[in-house]
């Protein structure tokens, strides 16, 4: 069990570092989604399945989705501005 816990801690550390090191926001949203999944696994390993379910639904689905949609909006606006010439 202790091996599993150590492994999941290392995974979380690696995932968090990966999110911080990813510079492009769109890529970052995808990496953050994966990181949310890792966090969910960590909660499961530590026997908190309720929290794991919330974490997976929010961290791996809802949050990245909001970021991606917001990015799409920002890009659409930036594209529109160029055409407006003002």
């Amino acid at each position: 069990m202790i091996v599993l816990e150590a492994a999941v801690f290392l995974l979380v550390a690696a995932g968090g570092t990966a999110v911080a090191l990813t510079r492009d926001p769109l890529n970052q949203a995808i990496v953050a989604s994966f990181y949310g999944l890792i966090l969910g696994i960590m909660f499961l390993v530590f026997q908190a399945p309720d929290v794991a379910l919330s974490q997976i639904t929010v961290g791996a689905v809802a949050l990245p989705l909001m970021i991606v949609l917001a990015l799409a909006k920002v890009r659409a606006l930036a594209g529109g501005r160029k055409d407006d010439a003002g």
Partner: protein, 254 residues
């Protein structure tokens, strides 16, 4: 501020913050040691007192039900806030989505994604209902199940067209679901007052531990939270999609 000064300020702050953190870490209980009495007490008494086999649900929806009500209204206020901020504003005109621009039309949804999305739709809805309905028995509950139900709307969007999502997303019904869920929680609380007990007190028959209809008010609260969360997330999703994909027609009032 020159980079050298900035670095020195950072190093000083990092040493102080790091020292405090290390000092705090030395005071923590040992790895895997639980010191608080409440968890042990609840583990011992919750199943007997509330007949809920999921002690987490007994805590969040019964022993600390008022806290959860506050959280539910935080989510409610956040969703309403998003709907207000993203409402149709004066001077906003319709722009065709980027996908429709002639020079950069996106490739159509592939059949694989379409089939997979539609095949998953039924199981996802069923799973969401299961998670909501069994919140007092097994891990899960209104919040988790509600988000799972809301992802069904996302699947429709991914597998079909935004237009289809608009058709299967009756706004009135979603608003009703969200507000019924929020009001339902308070109504369950008032049920306690009506029975002559405290607000949110578990006054319904508790039944047998492990039965689907057991644990008194906990499944009812789970149901109302599930309605609220599912409605809220679908509303959130469609507000964002509306912003990014279909900008409003001039003069259209929503």
């Amino acid at each position: 501020m020159t980079p050298a000064v900035r670095r020195r300020v950072f190093l000083a702050a990092a040493v102080v913050a790091g020292g405090l953190l290390l000092w705090g870490l030395t005071g923590l209980p040992d790895y895997g040691v639980y010191v608080g009495p409440y968890g042990d007490v609840l583990n011992a008494v919750a199943v007997g007192e509330r007949k809920a086999t999921n002690v987490v649900a007994a805590v969040t929806f019964d022993y600390r039900g008022v806290d959860t009500m506050g959280e539910e209204f935080i989510l409610f206020a956040a969703v309403v806030g998003v709907a207000i901020v993203l409402r149709a504003q004066r001077g906003e005109t319709e722009q065709p989505p980027d996908e429709d621009a002639a020079d950069r039309r996106a490739p159509g949804t592939s059949n694989a994604v379409r089939v997979l999305g539609l095949a998953l739709l039924g199981p996802v809805v069923l799973f969401g209902i299961y998670v909501v309905a069994h919140g007092h028995l097994s891990p899960g509950g209104g919040f988790q199940g509600g988000v799972v139900l809301a992802t069904a709307a996302l699947l429709v969007y991914l597998s079909g067209e935004y237009v289809t999502l608009r058709r299967v997303r009756p706004v009135a019904l979603i608003d009703l679901s969200e507000s019924t869920g929020a009001a339902g929680y308070v109504a369950v609380g008032l049920l306690g007052l009506a029975a002559g007990a405290a607000f949110l007190e578990n006054v319904l028959p508790l039944g047998r531990p492990g039965a689907l209809l057991s644990a008194g008010t906990i499944p009812l609260i789970n149901l109302s939270v599930g309605l609220e969360v599912a409605g809220g997330f679908v509303l959130l999703l469609s507000e964002f999609l509306e912003q990014t994909l279909v900008l409003r027609r001039p003069g259209e009032v929503t």
